[in-house]
Point group: C2
Chain length 261, copies 2
DNA sequence: GGAAGAGGTTGATCTGCGTCAAGAAAGTGT
DNA sequence: ACACTTTCTTGACGCAGATCAACCTCTTCC
């Protein structure tokens, strides 16, 4: 349950690097969205002061209430952000994928918890190192702003799902969301592949049934029953606890917006 | 229904201004959160290029799908952000108060609609003027980032409310939220005042019953019934369509977190 | 002052999802 | 291959909140 922290030294390398920019030899963060806006020297600085956090599936990355001492960029894997009430109810309030920023640089203590939905690898900075980087790279701040605005819009999209959609629409929305985030060419799920012949997605879900229910504001039994319905409609196929094949993404998308019976 | 746009020239004035900084003579934006980070010259530039948008209660400020041509800072009033689905369901995905940033600077078209929940006054910038301001004032970008992170956290708090709370808890949460935002010393509601003798809040709600239901993911009838319950418990008192007196904020806060029967 | 409309309340009934309980399947360690 | 644990599925039943419908309370406008 304890997060394994694996600090590492980054070496700068120019091998196989068209633009000639400095990049992290270990994780290749150069073209990551969150690193756009870093000057060459800023990139080099980032490589020097960053360290790595590797957390296995199910591990806790940070806990609500703990003091904020670092932030980072997700290199690979899926992170779930969780809010918990005093009586134990939990709501997943966000899923973060590779390239996305993770942190609350203006808060004293974390306002939510983060856990590894899959095995996760994060490129981290201490609060101080991060502030320095921000101060010296104005365009980097812009990239962070863009990331935050994107997350904000995603959160608001999900508010609509939580407040106004039926259980069936919710699950359909989730599956469309997963297919779009983890589809061909994307990173973050195990065994993902684009299969020809109508199969839009074939891979593993980054969340268990319990986690899906926590994301959708439903109970696990309801999620299970909705999966059964979608299977009966021939839209998806499941195997084991996390295996999923999306057989008809277009129809699923329609269902998620209730544009058919 | 059409937004009244009231462009105006700003004059710089130093009268009664301790720090001697330039400020907008019309709206006094100098100390607004979103203007922190502007240099003196940046402040002067902001005053020159900004214009004013005044929208009466119920008016549309911007429409989902329309091209993004401006952004701004709310000077006074309450703005509701709305997502609408193709079949007409609506969800309020955010309430914005005075001092908060309004805009989606990285989007081509608006991802949501905004309407005036009360009479609203906005200090606006064209996209181009805004980008220039951002580019020339690095710390201003930081203030925007802080605003965005704050909105993101607020959205996530509300995701918990939508996904996990009962109708009673939802309404209690809303009333606590309103009391905290529009309480004594805050701006944005009509006739707000702090009353001694156990009354935590006495003023007007910025939302109609219909809007409250759209914010809480409920139907108007349910909101009405929950108001009745809270009145029976002696926690609030209502008068007319928007009048509200919060008689026991502590108890309401407990109710919103279900820490009592 | 009364007609018309908008917004809110109240009651009766229905239903989608939650709750409770049992069991099956998948995953894990020996 | 086995036992053991965790996770998921399925069924029976109940209830919170939705739905439908009637009525009430303002406001406004003639």
């Amino acid at each position: 349950m304890t997060a394994k922290c694996a600090p590492h030294r980054h070496s700068s390398s120019r091998s196989g690097n068209r633009s000639g920019k400095v990049e992290c030899a270990y994780c290749g963060v150069r073209d990551k969205a969150a690193c756009r806006g870093l000057s060459d020297s800023g990139q080099a600085e980032a490589n020097t002061v960053s360290y790595r956090k590797v957390v296995p599936q199910g591990g806790v990355i940070l806990r609500e209430g703990d003091p904020v001492a670092w932030c980072g960029v997700i290199v690979s894997g899926v992170v779930k952000l969780v809010k918990t009430s005093s009586d134990g109810r939990q709501q997943i309030v966000g899923l973060q994928f590779g390239d996305e920023f993770l942190g609350q640089p203006f808060e004293q203590s974390w306002r939510l918890s983060a856990e590894a939905a899959t095995d996760v690898d994060i490129c981290c900075f201490s609060q101080g190192a991060f502030d320095g980087l921000r101060g010296r790279n104005p365009a980097f701040e812009g990239a962070l702003l863009q990331d935050a605005m994107g997350s904000l819009d995603a959160a608001r999209d999900w508010m609509f799902v939580l407040g106004r959609k039926t259980a069936e629409e919710k699950l359909a929305s989730f599956l469309v969301f997963i297919a779009e985030r983890l589809g061909p060419g994307k990173s973050g799920a195990k065994g993902v592949q684009h299969v020809t012949g109508g199969v839009a997605f074939d891979g593993e879900l980054p969340l268990s049934r319990t986690e899906i229910s926590q994301f959708l504001g439903l109970r696990i039994e309801t999620v299970s029953r909705q999966f059964k319905k979608l299977k009966a409609l021939g839209l998806v196929d499941t195997s084991g606890n996390r295996g999923i094949r999306i057989l008809n993404l277009d129809r699923l998308r329609e269902l998620s917006e209730s544009e058919l019976a």
